[in-house]
């Protein structure tokens, strides 16, 4: 740990970012072992009580402990953002590789498709997607994954097109490397400097999109808490009981901001686009 800190001591972005994201991930971790109160237990006596020793984050309009709900609510946010980005990445790699390696008409068609997806606001498309195939965690993940895929497809395609004529790729073809291996072993590592920061930012955007969907009632369904639907439930009490909104937002902001910081840190440290010489 100490070595890690020393190694990164010149990049405050990475340290602060990892700290923020670390807190959120820690919340996810302990949600599996310990919750201070039952997050679903309602009670008249505890309705909208302000933060106190027993309930550090206060209670919401149904008397449920906000701390327990925030801890539990980080789970869907992190789960959806991470698995969504995985789907977006896999789709992006597949589409981008085909477009970048094959070129020609297929390239044009694929890029036309991804341009038309990117032309619409992501949230809107995700809403349509959820409306069509039904609510639920899986459809959110799938929907967000598909909506986010085109931007990665673009990065992968342009990266591959740049590398295609690099001499080491020509040599790899010459010694008989087949296309799948060429992509995975020879091309993908060269994309990392551009792809990695974009991916980390993508996780953050995905978390925001999930929160927005849940806020609109199309995301994670009540009573299961998520940072997004807690905001929706709390908004009516924002003046009388601001803690019902502040604490979920705090965690969401830490997660998103932390990821942005990490992305920026990676970009500064490794430079985007450059291969090390």
């Amino acid at each position: 740990m100490r070595n890690i800190i020393r190694y990164h001591r010149h990049s405050p972005y990475l340290i602060v970012g990892s700290f923020f994201v670390g807190i959120v991930l820690f919340a996810v971790l302990i949600s599996f072992f310990y919750l201070p109160h039952d997050p679903y237990a309602t009670g008249i006596a505890t309705k909208l009580i302000a933060p106190e020793f027993e309930h550090p984050f206060g209670c919401d309009h149904e008397g449920r402990d906000v701390l327990s709900r925030v801890i539990l609510g980080t789970r869907p946010t992190v789960l959806i953002s991470l698995s969504g980005i995985l789907i977006a990445l896999v789709l992006g790699l597949i589409i981008g590789s085909i477009a970048g390696r094959v070129g020609g008409l297929i390239d044009n068609l694929l890029m036309l498709l991804s341009d038309s997806i990117m032309a619409f606001p992501g949230i809107l498309l995700a809403l349509v997607f959820v409306a069509v195939i039904g609510r639920g965690m899986l459809s959110i993940i799938l929907g967000l994954g598909i909506v986010f895929a085109p931007s990665y497809a673009r990065i992968v395609r342009s990266g591959i097109r740049q590398l295609n004529n690099r001499e080491y790729i020509l040599l790899a073809r010459l010694i008989g490397v087949k296309t799948p291996r060429l992509l995975v072993v020879h091309l993908f590592p060269g994309l990392l400097p551009q792809l990695l920061p974009a991916l980390v930012v993508g996780i953050a955007n995905m978390a925001l999109a999930e929160a927005a969907l849940s806020y609109l009632g199309q995301g994670v369904q009540i009573p299961l808490p998520s940072l997004g639907n807690m905001l929706m439930e709390g908004q009516s009490y924002i003046t009388s009981a601001p803690w019902t909104v502040i604490f979920p937002s705090l965690f969401l902001v830490m997660y998103v901001l932390g990821l942005y910081f990490i992305s920026e840190g990676i970009r500064i440290k490794y430079g985007s686009g450059g291969t090390e010489k």
Binding site: Y168, I175, H186
Partner: protein
């Protein structure tokens, strides 16, 4: 007592370091450097790459990178110590009095500005004292005159041209013209001709010398090429390991070198690699050729290049034989189709028509849309920085050809890789290194080893030694020669450098605008060239 005028520029005890941070030690790049440049002379600095040549030039021009620290010394130009002058004054002095010419003319030019505007910039930015209110027209005529002076026949066209419309040599001449407009008293030329082919190189250097004589300008000429320095310079300093090891008149230095390093440099510059006594007899010219290329045409279709509508024909009716066990040199000016030929022979680019025979057996007929099997010929590129995947270790790079062709077990593969590393003279510890940790010469060894892994009968080396400095160049050529002698692998050595051909090749083919214009034994072709283009190349 003989009156000795004060030198134009004198560098005294100059020491420059890149300070290290933390554990990294200070990196000294120049150590107590001293030399003088007299009025009107051409002073040469030679040395291998990394010996500190460019840093010297940058220090004089006041363009050192921020990280560099001048530890001690002074640079006295016309009585002023440049290092103690306030920056503003120094810049005013340097801009007018010292001109700079770099190796790569394209990167010194803004692609969106015409040559005329570039040159106009020279005149306006340094407020020429002789003509404070010179009008545009007068300036333009001065520029045109200067362009004519550096050897352009139609300065008007050059004035309006954009950098990409000119050849490398023309760009370099335009830049020289720009520097001359300011009437400098010192011109620093840092490898001004290294990126040009031999014919253009000669033109540029002649131009530079003529200019120096007619304007009385001193030139600081920096190069790694002793041949050029010998032709150009009056006096010469040999830089080795951050120090000047020898400094005297060019004739003295080159004919009675006083330092072992100079002698070594001279030896490698002449590229005496062939040991005629040890050499195997060259294969008879009428032997069954290993590879016979018959009336090959090739080019790039317009969809890739997107220029015009028709296909761009690069190779026109090329026929060539490569004999078993020979080293065949292929020379020609840049852009004549050498690299395209290499790509067709290795199977990276299909030809449009023509046939290729291996041992008189037809392997591909491009007229029938045939394609060449890719793994049969090895290929080594010019720039080892680009031809090795930066994300793989040397061990994995060398194992890759065996792995993808499913040859041998894992352990056997590792053994073979290590054997190969020994064969090309790489220490075993480099197995786990990344290409970025190796020097240019070592990388080129790795590239060579990689092409050898599949034991091909022919290796195409496309300008494989051009980007290396002389000492390393001779080591790599020696390695190529040894491999050829020991295992009888044929080489097709593509180069623009006649020295390289003379040093290792058995036969040579000369290419000009997509055609092979002459081929034969090296001695015969060089002694009695039949084609005028060949004659021009050889001179």
């Amino acid at each position: 007592m003989i009156y000795e005028p004060a030198p134009l520029l004198s560098v005294k005890n100059l020491t420059i370091r890149f300070p290290g941070s933390g554990k990294r030690k200070d990196n000294e790049v120049l150590s107590r450097l001293s030399f003088d440049i007299r009025d009107g002379e051409i002073f040469g600095i030679v040395g291998e790459s990394g010996s500190g040549k460019t840093i010297t030039a940058l220090a004089i021009a006041g363009l050192l990178p921020d990280a560099a620290k001048i530890i001690s010394g002074e640079i006295i130009f016309r009585g002023n110590n440049l290092l103690s002058l306030p920056p503003k004054k120094r810049r005013a002095l340097l801009g007018k009095e010292i001109g700079l010419i770099f190796q790569e003319p394209l990167s010194s030019l803004n692609p969106l500005m015409t040559i005329g505007r570039h040159l106009m910039e020279y005149l306006t930015s340094h407020g020429n004292p002789e003509s404070p209110r010179e009008r545009l027209k007068a300036r333009k005529s001065r520029i045109l005159k200067m362009l004519a002076h550096v050897g352009f026949h139609n300065p008007d066209r050059i004035y309006r041209a954009f950098p990409h419309q000119l050849s490398g040599g023309q760009r370099q001449r335009a830049l020289i013209a720009g520097e001359l407009l300011l009437n400098p008293s010192l011109l620093i030329a840092d490898e001004p001709s290294s990126s040009l082919d031999s014919v253009t190189q000669t033109q540029i250097l002649d131009q530079l010398r003529r200019v120096s004589q007619s304007f009385g300008i001193s030139v600081l000429f920096i190069s790694h090429d002793l041949k050029l320095v010998e032709r150009m310079c009056d006096r010469l300093a040999v830089l080795h390991n951050r120090k000047i090891v020898e400094c005297d008149s060019t004739y003295e230095v080159l004919h009675s070198p006083g330092h072992p390093h100079t002698a070594a440099l001279l030896r490698s510059a002449s590229l005496q690699i062939r040991d005629e006594n040890a050499a195997r007899p060259a294969p008879p010219v009428d032997a069954v050729p290993l590879l016979r290329i018959d009336s090959l045409n090739a080019g790039y279709s317009s969809s890739i290049l997107q220029t015009g509508t028709e296909e761009k024909e690069v190779l026109k009716d090329v026929s060539l034989r490569i004999l078993p066990g020979e080293i065949l040199g292929l020379i020609g000016t840049s852009g004549c189709g050498k690299t395209t030929l290499a790509r067709v022979v290795t199977g990276l680019l299909p030809g449009t028509s023509g046939q290729i025979f291996e041992n008189e057996r037809l392997v591909v007929d491009f007229s029938k849309r045939g394609r060449l099997k890719k793994t049969s010929v090895g290929l080594v590129f010019q720039d080892p920085y680009n031809s090795l995947n930066p994300y793989l270790t040397i061990g994995r790079l060398l194992e890759e050809p065996l792995k993808v062709n499913h040859l041998f077990e894992k352990k056997e593969r590792r053994d073979r890789v290590l054997q190969m590393m020994t064969r090309v003279g790489l220490p075993k510890k480099y197995y786990d290194y990344y290409p970025s940790q190796l020097s240019g010469g070592q990388r080129q060894r790795v590239a060579l080893a990689m092409s050898l892994m599949l034991s091909p009968s022919l290796i195409v080396a496309d300008e494989a030694v051009s980007s290396l400095d002389v000492t390393v160049q001779s080591q790599i050529l020696k390695l190529i020669w040894e491999i050829n002698q020991k295992s009888g692998i044929s080489f097709l050595l593509i180069t623009h450098d006649l020295k390289v051909v003379r040093s290792v090749c058995d036969r040579v083919a000369i290419m000009d605008s997509g055609r092979i214009i002459e081929a034969g034994r090296v001695g015969d072709v060089f002694r009695t060239p039949t084609n005028p283009v060949t004659r021009m190349l050889i001179q």
